[in-house]
Symmetry: C2
Subunit: 337 residues, 2 copies
DNA sequence: ATTAGCACTCATTGCTAAAGAGTGCTAACA
DNA sequence: TGTTAGCACTCTTTAGCAATGAGTGCTAAT
């Protein structure tokens, strides 16, 4: 694989990315000034095809990149080029001042990714079991109803109504919350153990029933949260891509996106050492997206909460630009601000 | 319009609903035993066409119902037939025991409608502006952050973080909430007026800034709530219908469904006297759904909160069955339980 | 090693003919 | 007078076929 072959492969990929049409030797010779004739390019292409990096839909059509062609491109040819200034400014300004809590950050990120890349964007938020409970409070709302308020470390808030005995006082509630706050807050829910729980019960012998209800509500909420960790937008714009001009494909892909569980599994298989990972075509496990590519990018919200950004698009996607964008957004999320 | 014409129109509509193909005279004569020959049916069809109830896509094709054909069918021919027993049991059992709060009811209804009709289902929950604020509370979370908790009449809870000056005490917060609770709670947000607000400000001269923040947050949340009143599921299964075998249409309809504002407007135009309303094809205002039909059905959750169920499907939909289903679900929602 | 030239391949486009579904009209019938 | 059989006519759909054109692969010349 010499330099010229690399250049030609790059040209084929770039052209195919922008046109979605098989690329011919003449096109490359004219559009990309490599100063070689179509005939020479044809010879090189023949080699590239033998190596498995490009393929023809049928004899005597142009060439298009194969999965391994894209893979080679991503691994060895593509360089991370700087993001367009306008895009960078848009991203930076979108984050400025608008981020009060984690959910805001997620919302802004998703919106940006979907708008700029025009591909569906996924965001995996850190699971609740990794979150600590920051504090709880309880408010008496009616005679037999109290509102339990959970605030997590990353300032997510959850509300649950709890039944309380008639005549229960606001001060009784306070007693309960005080104990729970002192014993359990600041700890990850996965670290709660029997001893800890027993201590809480011990201190609140009289309120056993309501305490059980409260603890159950907390666990329930924290786990429910776990299920809702995946966010998704930008599905429709994907339909503009020529690869989705067939309704069958559209249906299959939309059905695929409807299954949040699968999406979560895809993202959750977490990155090892690298910041990002690219899965091209058949490298994906799921049949429905065997001709899509996925880019995953780690982020650490304010240096603390770890999650994953993801994009699913056609194989023919702008890998370099997309990765740069994810890098930038990941940076923005990291900033302590 | 004599009885026979009615029968023929009905046959045409039923056949077209199930096949999506223009219906010929021979088909009707054979499949529906009206005991008349194709030739006679042709004569009648000719009349029906003149009256505007059916139309031909081109000369010498079969007939298909026109919008006014469907309209005539819905108004004068169709009878509400009893729901399939299995369906009825499914609905009733789906509601049993699972409904703790309004949101549960909505979720179950949507899921049922989408699953049974296979059309996209919409639910409009009662709007916040019709809701009264039941109470607010504020909790100090950090030195400069407080959590504002809004509880509405129907026990929806909203949380907003508010910036507070450093050193602000829990008791200061209490003062504010007390005033707001006494002046504003129990009133619909649409009834807030200048005098009322002025009174609140008067009592809390010293806390002007934070009060403004709190009031703004309340209004913002109540209005945001208004925007989120619409629920939607079952989009994908719609793609199975032959009328959506064209990607352009799919895109336009999906984009349409993405705009919750428009959907809300459609549903919010509320029903006058009747329990339900049917909009057929061009009767809809929005171009994108000029060849869809909408069925809207009023409901009163536990006799109290009024909202609307809606279904959007192809004009070629099972009007009678769908209406029966919506009736049943509306009944289930109404039950005090 | 590169390139010009040329025959060859195969999808796409346009055209025409045949098939088929269904109508509308006319004339016969009860 | 209403109903029906028969038949010509219309218009879409389908298949087949030739022309077009983009692009290749090979060969021979540079």
């Amino acid at each position: 694989m010499d330099e010229r072959k690399r250049k030609i492969l790059e040209a084929i990929i770039l052209d195919y990315i922008s046109t979605a049409e098989p690329v011919g030797s003449r096109t490359i010779s004219k559009k990309y000034d490599l100063n070689i004739s179509p005939a020479t390019i044809r010879n090189e292409m023949s080699d590239l095809e033998e190596m498995g990096y490009i393929e023809q839909p049928y004899t005597s059509a142009g060439r298009m990149p194969s999965d391994s062609g894209y893979r080679y491109y991503v691994d060895y040819i593509m360089k991370k080029n700087k993001l367009d200034d306008a895009v960078e400014r848009l991203v930076v300004s979108s984050f400025r001042g608008k981020i009060n809590k984690f959910d805001d950050a997620i919302a802004v990120s998703m919106e940006l990714i979907a708008r700029i890349t025009r591909y569906p964007s996924l965001v995996l938020a850190p699971g609740a079991e990794k979150l600590s409970l920051s504090m709880i409070r309880m408010l008496k709302v009616e005679d037999t109803k109290a509102l339990l308020i959970l605030i997590t470390e990353n300032r997510q808030v959850e509300n649950v109504f709890i039944d309380i005995p008639s005549g229960f006082l606001e001060s009784d509630l306070e007693l309960i919350t005080n104990v729970i706050n002192s014993k359990l807050s600041g700890k990850k829910i996965s670290d709660w153990n029997k001893t800890l729980i027993a201590e809480v019960y011990h201190e609140l012998l009289k309120q056993k029933e309501i305490l059980t209800a409260v603890l159950e509500a907390i666990e329930d909420r924290m786990h429910k949260n776990k299920e809702h960790r995946i966010h998704l937008t930008g599905l429709i714009q994907m339909l503009n891509e020529p690869e989705f001009h067939d309704v069958k494909k559209v249906r299959s892909i939309l059905a695929f996106f409807d299954d949040k569980k699968i999406l979560e599994n895809i993202l959750v298989k977490s990155l090892q050492d690298d910041d990002y990972e690219v899965y091209i075509g058949k490298e994906n496990e799921q049949d429905e997206i065997k001709d899509c590519s996925i880019i995953k990018r780690k982020y650490n919200f304010r240096g603390d909460l770890e999650g994953i950004l993801g994009i699913i698009g056609p194989k023919r996607m702008d890998y370099s630009g997309t990765i740069s964008l994810l890098d930038l957004i990941s940076d923005m999320l990291e900033q302590k601000k």
